[in-house]
Structures are given as structure tokens and as C-alpha cells.
């Protein structure tokens, strides 16, 4: 068996380098731009956004609050705080529409760290390592809320690498590098895509938030798929692709509806056949199969990967 020398080379050859990295670039740009907005104040004194990802104030009037942190605060027994509540509502509605895990792919600063670990692991051909169940993040999500409830404090926020990393970038780093290094090494040596793909309860929360999101990736031209497997190789949650891409015979629609999909769009980039595109979740007409029964449009995404 030959190992493919370069994933996405076909796409680069057929579409050109830039088009084959379009969404990756957009994603890195968004990540940097958001961080830049937060840093513009403390670094050069341009106060467009104040605060950090857990709660911020934009242009002096728009409050945005992380609904997951607010939920922990509610569990810990604090109910007041109208500004935070409205800020969390705005954020929740946004992600519920565009895809919950868009947060993971386009906003979360830890994504850069884990993507770097994945890139390095690929360079050195490191093994997959430990594969925890993907459901473990949901259990952890429950555990963080339960711990907040019992302890009466935001227990998880004492060690949450995601919020701590962003806050450290904006307010001063301290010993946060130890935590970033821990996540990096965990992903590199212990478990491939372990943090973002299996463990992180923040991602689990945003995944649940985007369960019914409008914007989804769809394998619109799946009949053109030539089984090069590049999309599976780049996808941070490869199990989400199978039902949509391979579902033609079982009557499953072409839209990726698993809440685990981060809408990162990397599969769109690397596909030389232009199978994937962003679409609305409603455009999920499954083909009529031979006995004339239209199949359900909710596949069991768990079977895959």
C-alpha cells in the first residue's frame, strides 16, 4: 500500500493553490482578526472590543457573552446579570444559526494549537494513539455543570484551557504556556485530534447549540467523488462525512447534519472534484430509491469513522 505523498495535491493541481486553501485561509484570518480586535485595545489603544471571549463589550454597546460560561454560572447559583444574559442570548442565537462548532473552527484560539499538533503528527507519521469515545466530551460537559452546581463556583473555568488561553493572550500570559503545551503534546503524542475531537466540553456545548443550525456543508455533487479520501484525511471529525458522502444508496441526503461538524470547510478546499459546498440544512433532498420510499434525512452519524 502506498501512502499518499500529499493530501490535497489533486485539488491544488486542478483548482490552483489559492482556491485549494480558501477556507483554511479564511479561517486563519478570522481567528487572527478576532484576536486582533481584542488585542488592539491593550496593545495600541484602539478600543473596539473590550474584555475577552467569556464576555466582551463591542463599540461600547454590544454585549457578547459565552453561553457556556453563563450556564456554569447559573449552575453555580448566580441568577442575576441582565447584560450577560442578553449577551449570551445573542451569541447562542448566532451559533445556533451558523453552526455551533463554527466557534471551534473560526474563533477558538486553541484550534491553532491543535491544528499545529495535527500538522506535526502528520509530518512525522505519528500513530493515531489513544482513541477516546467521542461521547466523552458530552459526559465532561455534564460533569463541568454538575461540579459547578455542587461546588457553587465556576469550577471548570479554573482549568478550562480554552478560556484561559484567550484570556491570557489578552490580559497577560503567566503560566498558561504549561497548559497550552499540555494540550499540544496530548494531541501530538497521546491522542490524534484528542482535545478538539474527543475531550473538549466547550466544543461539546457549542456542538449541541448548533444541532439544528441552518448553515451546513453538503456533499452536493457526491456522484463525482473519486474516493481519493482527502476529505477524510483533513477532516477534524471524519465520521461526519460518511453518511452524507456515501449515503446515496441508503437514501441519505447529501447535507452533513452531524452536530460534530465544525463547518471549517477544509473538505471543500481539498476536494479536486468540487463535491462539497456550503448549503442550508433544508436542501437535503434524499434521492428516491427503487421502492419509492424517501429515506429519513437523519442518518446515524455515529456509525461512521
Amino acid at each position: 500500500m502506498t501512502i499518499k505523498q500529499s493530501i490535497g495535491q489533486d485539488a491544488i493541481n486542478s483548482k490552483g493553490w489559492l482556491a485549494a486553501h480558501k477556507w483554511l485561509f479564511l479561517r486563519r484570518f478570522t481567528q487572527l482578526a478576532i484576536l486582533g480586535l481584542f488585542l488592539a485595545g491593550p496593545l495600541v489603544g484602539i478600543w473596539i472590543v473590550k474584555g475577552n471571549l467569556t464576555s466582551s463589550l463591542t463599540l461600547g454597546f454590544l454585549p457578547l457573552t459565552d453561553p457556556y460560561v453563563l450556564l456554569q454560572s447559573l449552575a453555580a447559583g448566580h441568577t442575576l446579570g441582565l447584560t450577560a444574559l442578553s449577551g449570551a442570548t445573542i451569541v447562542a442565537v448566532f451559533y445556533a444559526l451558523v453552526g455551533g462548532r463554527v466557534y471551534c473552527a473560526f474563533v477558538c484560539p486553541m484550534n491553532v494549537v491543535t491544528d499545529a499538533a495535527r500538522w506535526l503528527a502528520k509530518r512525522f507519521n505519528l500513530s493515531k494513539g489513544w482513541v477516546p469515545q467521542r461521547e466523552i466530551r458530552l459526559w465532561l460537559l455534564g460533569a463541568t455543570l454538575l461540579t459547578a452546581l455542587i461546588s457553587g463556583t465556576l469550577a471548570w473555568e479554573l482549568i478550562n484551557p480554552v478560556s484561559i488561553l484567550h484570556r491570557s493572550l489578552v490580559f497577560g500570559f503567566g503560566y498558561t504556556w504549561t497548559m497550552v503545551l499540555a494540550v499540544f503534546l496530548f494531541d501530538l503524542l497521546i491522542s490524534r485530534r484528542g482535545w478538539c475531537g474527543h475531550i473538549c466540553p466547550v466544543g461539546a456545548f457549542y456542538g449541541l447549540l448548533g444541532t439544528f443550525s441552518l448553515i451546513r456543508v453538503a456533499a452536493k455533487k457526491r456522484e463525482q467523488c473519486n474516493d481519493c479520501m482527502d476529505c477524510f484525511a483533513v477532516c477534524p471529525e471524519p465520521h461526519v462525512i460518511t453518511p452524507a458522502l456515501r449515503g446515496a444508496e441508503s437514501g441519505t441526503g447529501p447535507v452533513i447534519i452531524s452536530r460534530d461538524c465544525t463547518n471549517c470547510g477544509r473538505c471543500i478546499d481539498v476536494c479536486a472534484e468540487n463535491v462539497f459546498t456550503f448549503d442550508l440544512r433544508f436542501n437535503n433532498q434524499a434521492p428516491i430509491i427503487s421502492n419509492g420510499v424517501k429515506a429519513s434525512s437523519t442518518p446515524s452519524s455515529r456509525k461512521a469513522a
Partner: protein, 253 residues
């Protein structure tokens, strides 16, 4: 028959499924417990770290504060900062160290206004009623005023001049002819802003702001001070009591 086989297989699958669930639940349970214990440890605030004005009682504060740092941003002085990972203060929460930068007592209390969650109580609108801690003249041996000098700096810089700290006159036993002006903190007025600690002229401050629970004693519930009760009542507590003459030591044979 082929009806039996799948059910036997089902049993195995079910058993495996249950074992999987149990393993995950066990692992996550352990995680919760470790996190809970860590939380108990991480909850204590170092004695010299003070919360911004209007902060809820520490336990409620740790449930309410979402660590966004908006209070730090709206503080016009370099007073407030967010605890970074690895510091003693619970990570991400705002605090100040009075000796480094005290609260400057802004009349419009911008830090409280900035708080989106109410962890800094929005009802706290009068900065002079705030309660960040309590100043304590902690070292009488080094305090210059206690040594009979007229330093008075803590008294002079107090935003509630003559109210939160007063200078009480005492006889100077060393010279036997001068007065000592003893800085005396009044806990009903002191806001804990820390300006006194900041400006104490010693190498290490003799007056320090501590959280109130560390700084205050408490009289027993049952305890009554006779002269106070007498004042309240307007006459003697036990009418007709005989006042015997006090016997002084030097009167003894």
C-alpha cells in the same frame, strides 16, 4: 433457529455497551471529584488580594464572576488586574494589591458599571459605602506615630479624612511630656481602598488592608457592655445597687 442467535449477540453487545458506559462514567466521575477538590483548594483568596468595590461576598463572587476583565478595562488606574494562570488568586478573577496600587475611589465607580453579571453589585453606587476590606494598624512597633512622631500620612491620605482614620491622643510614656497621635481605624467608615497602606512611609507598611473576616473580632452574642445598656435604658440597669469604694493596690497593707 436464527431467532436465538441475534438475541445472544444482542446480550454481548448490551454487556459491552454497559461496560463502555460504566468506564466513561467512572472516568468522568473521577474527573469531577478531582476538579471539585481542586476547587475547594483554589477558592481561598490570599490575605492581601482585595476584590474591586461592590464585589459580592467571596463565595457568591466566585459563582457570579465570569472572568471577562471588563472591570479591569474600565478601571482608569493601574489598580485592577486579572489573575493569570498559576497565581494564588483564582484564575481570571479581578483583584488588587493595595500596597502596589490602591483603589482610587472614583465617584462614578466605572468598574461596577462595567460588570455584565452583577458579580460587582450594581446597587453599589456610592463608593464611600463600599467595603473592599478593612485597614488594620498591624504593627505598632514600627508605626512612626506609635513611636511618638508626627507622620500622620495614613490619616492624611484617607479619602474619608477624619472619619475612617482618626488620630487619638495618648500620653507618651517615654518622654512623659508629649502626646502620641495614634491612627485609629473605624470599621464602620473604612472602605478598604488601601490608600493608607499604599502611602505608609515605612519600608513595609505598618497599616494594611485585610479582608474584613480577617480583620474584625466579634463579641459574643450574649455579651452586654453595661455602660452602653445603661445609656440605652436611660437609668441604672439594677436600681438601688450599692457602689462600693474601689480598693487600689497601693491601699493594701
Amino acid at each position: 433457529m436464527n431467532k436465538i442467535e441475534p438475541s445472544a449477540q444482542d446480550r454481548v453487545t448490551r454487556r459491552r455497551f454497559m461496560a463502555k458506559i460504566a468506564r466513561t462514567a467512572g472516568g468522568v466521575g473521577l474527573f469531577s471529584m478531582a476538579l471539585g477538590l481542586f476547587t475547594r483548594q483554589a477558592r481561598s483568596l490570599p490575605a492581601l488580594a482585595l476584590r474591586p468595590p461592590g464585589a459580592l461576598p467571596e463565595k457568591d463572587f466566585l459563582a457570579a464572576c465570569i472572568r471577562c476583565g471588563l472591570c479591569v478595562r474600565d478601571c482608569p488606574y493601574p489598580t485592577l488586574s486579572l489573575s493569570s494562570f498559576g497565581e494564588d488568586v483564582p484564575v481570571g478573577t479581578p483583584y488588587f494589591i493595595a500596597r502596589q496600587a490602591p483603589c482610587e475611589m472614583c465617584e462614578d465607580v466605572p468598574c461596577v458599571k462595567a460588570c455584565p453579571t452583577g458579580a460587582l453589585d450594581p446597587d453599589m453606587t456610592d463608593i464611600y459605602k463600599s467595603d473592599m476590606g478593612l485597614a488594620v494598624l498591624i504593627d505598632e512597633e514600627t508605626c512612626l506615630n506609635f513611636n511618638g512622631l508626627r507622620c500622620d500620612v495614613c490619616y492624611r491620605v484617607c479619602p474619608l479624612l477624619g472619619e475612617a482614620i482618626t488620630l487619638e491622643r495618648h500620653h507618651n510614656q517615654r518622654t512623659n511630656k508629649h502626646a502620641m497621635f495614634i491612627p485609629t481605624v473605624h470599621s464602620d467608615k473604612c472602605t478598604g481602598c488601601g490608600k493608607c497602606e499604599r502611602s505608609c512611609v515605612l519600608e513595609k507598611a505598618a497599616i494594611r488592608v485585610l479582608p474584613r473576616h480577617l480583620a474584625k473580632g466579634q463579641i459574643g452574642e450574649h455579651y452586654r457592655l453595661g455602660w452602653v445598656e445603661k445609656d440605652k435604658l436611660g437609668h441604672e440597669l439594677v436600681p438601688g445597687i450599692i457602689d462600693l469604694p474601689d480598693r487600689l493596690p497601693e491601699a493594701r497593707p
